[in-house]
């Protein structure tokens, strides 16, 4: 499957992406977790050492048609990129990141174009789980084009519901799975009817405070069980679309 996780800021995209990637890997799949947010986050949710560096020097070059006009340098097979430029994480997850904004003069857009080229060339032997920056800009600018499914994460707040509604319009050409996140007891997100309900768990909030992956800090959390359900739903949608000959 090739899934992108979108939603308003702070809704729980990285926690859900990180959990999903590791649970997929535990189920025996080959998983590439792609961190497309220029702000730090997903590495901690998976449990890999965060790095600000993007792809190594010499690998990225200006390329017409690439995202922001950038792509992979000649002589580098993009189909090998998923393995070659990713770092190993827990449960066998491979983590790929085009870099982070660390300084005022930092540009991560070049590396992003190269990572998109890798994603375009990565075959069906891989599952891709992509985590993107909060809000509507990234889907609009084409970061999500690798995906054939999207998970829309929404909380109970009005603004999160509004962002989820706008994101659903932007991503209306692929199947969407709405996940309600951080739900209080009896809580309902506005606007969208969620397929999966993830409760608020103070233990997960504590783990976030320490910067620890949910799966290691609170493996028995109802949050983990909800993301297991999400995984089942995404796998079912994947096989359904396969039977339709997508």
């Amino acid at each position: 499957m090739r899934v992108v996780v979108v939603g308003s800021g702070g809704a729980g995209k990285s926690v859900i992406s990180g959990l999903l990637a590791r649970l997929l890997a535990r189920s025996g799949r080959r998983v590439l977790a792609v961190d497309l947010d220029p702000n730090p986050g997903l590495a901690w949710s998976i449990g890999v050492a965060p790095s600000d560096e993007g792809l190594p020097e010499g690998v990225v070059t200006a390329r017409e048609g690439g995202l922001y006009g950038w792509g992979l340098a000649g002589g580098i097979d993009p189909a090998e990129g998923a393995e070659r430029f990713s770092t190993p994480g827990p449960d066998g997850v491979r983590y790929l990141c085009p870099g982070k904004i660390a300084r005022a003069d930092h540009v991560v857009t070049h590396s992003l174009g190269a990572v998109q080229a890798i994603l375009d060339a990565t075959g069906p032997s891989w599952d891709i789980v992509g985590d993107i920056e909060a809000g509507t800009t990234c889907p609009y600018e084409g970061y999500t084009r690798f995906a054939d499914q999207a998970v829309v994460v929404v909380t109970q707040s009005w603004r999160s519901g509004l962002a989820a509604h706008r994101l659903s319009q932007l991503l209306s050409d692929i199947p969407l799975t709405v996940v309600a996140s951080q739900l209080a007891d009896g809580g309902q997100p506005g606007r969208l009817d969620p397929a999966i309900r993830v409760p608020f768990d103070p233990a997960v909030a504590q783990a976030e405070r320490r910067g620890e992956p949910t799966l290691d800090a609170c493996p028995d959390s109802p949050v983990v069980r909800a993301v297991e359900d999400l995984m089942g739903l995404l796998v079912a949608k994947e096989s359904a679309s396969g039977q339709l000959g997508r």
């Binding site: 702000n39 962002a163 976030e208």
Partner: protein, 249 residues
């Protein structure tokens, strides 16, 4: 005076921005608030009705719709404010930079960020406050590019990710030559949170307590000031407003 409010997504930038803008206006300032979120919603914390907020005109969208391109002369920022701004509660003038909710049929490359930068840098602030509520994360801070003399408010909650993004925001603001940087420990449940943030950011940090009135306002798309003007979070933002206006600071 110009102020940008930045930080990780979901930490409460918009709540702080809207409440701060209104409290500054109530204190007698003329205030322009710029909503830089491409999914704009600052209007709610400025007291506008949610359905109104959802349909507010946005500068970039209106310019694109009227056939304006990058090659045309840059529009006068106060003219944009007059044409596309709206009056919000307590006399705050709100202007939305861009609204991204459908796939484009025209070129809007870099549009939302560029509009943010142009509005923030071109609106004069000699005799008024220009406050920008930035898009989540560090990218929009680079684009807005505040100058020495401007103030940067860096908001974080207790999560390690939010604190790290705040740390980077302060470093970036310092590299831009900005001295007036203040941290906000939002949704604060204990004094250690602000203390920790202060030790990481090495700037003055104010705590805004976790507040049921803010949560209630967030669920309903309302302004905390209209739900409970005496709530602890509103009081804390009042202190922040005082601090920002204190020229000796």
């Amino acid at each position: 005076m110009k102020i940008v409010v930045t930080g990780k997504g979901g930490v409460g930038k918009t709540t702080v921005s809207g409440t701060l803008a209104r409290l500054l206006a109530l204190a007698g300032q003329s205030v322009v608030a710029i909503d830089c979120d491409p999914s704009p919603n600052l209007g709610t914390t400025l007291g506008l009705d949610p359905p109104v907020v959802e349909g507010l005109p946005a500068v970039l969208n209106e310019l694109v719709a009227s056939g304006h391109t990058h090659n045309d002369p840059k529009p006068d920022p106060d003219d944009l404010l007059a044409r596309f701004g709206v009056d919000a509660a307590d006399g705050v003038r709100l202007v939305v930079a861009a609204r991204i909710e459908r796939l484009p049929n025209t070129c809007m490359c870099c549009g939302s960020h560029r509009t943010t930068r142009e509005l923030f840098s071109d609106l004069a602030a000699q005799d008024r406050v220009v406050l920008a509520d930035l898009e989540a994360g560090l990218n929009d801070l680079l684009w807005a590019h505040p100058k020495a003399g401007d103030a940067v408010v860096v908001v974080a909650d207790s999560s390690a990710k939010a604190v790290e993004i705040a740390r980077r925001a302060v470093r970036i603001a310092r590299a831009m030559g900005i001295e007036r940087v203040v941290g906000v420990a939002n949704h604060s449940a204990d004094p250690e949170q602000a203390e920790h943030l202060r030790s990481v950011l090495e700037v003055p940090v104010m705590a805004i307590p976790d507040d049921p009135a803010v949560a209630e306002a967030g669920y309903r798309g309302l302004a905390p000031l209209d739900v409970d003007p005496t709530s602890p979070a509103v009081r804390a933002i009042e202190t922040l407003a005082g601090r920002l206006m204190d020229l000796a600071w």
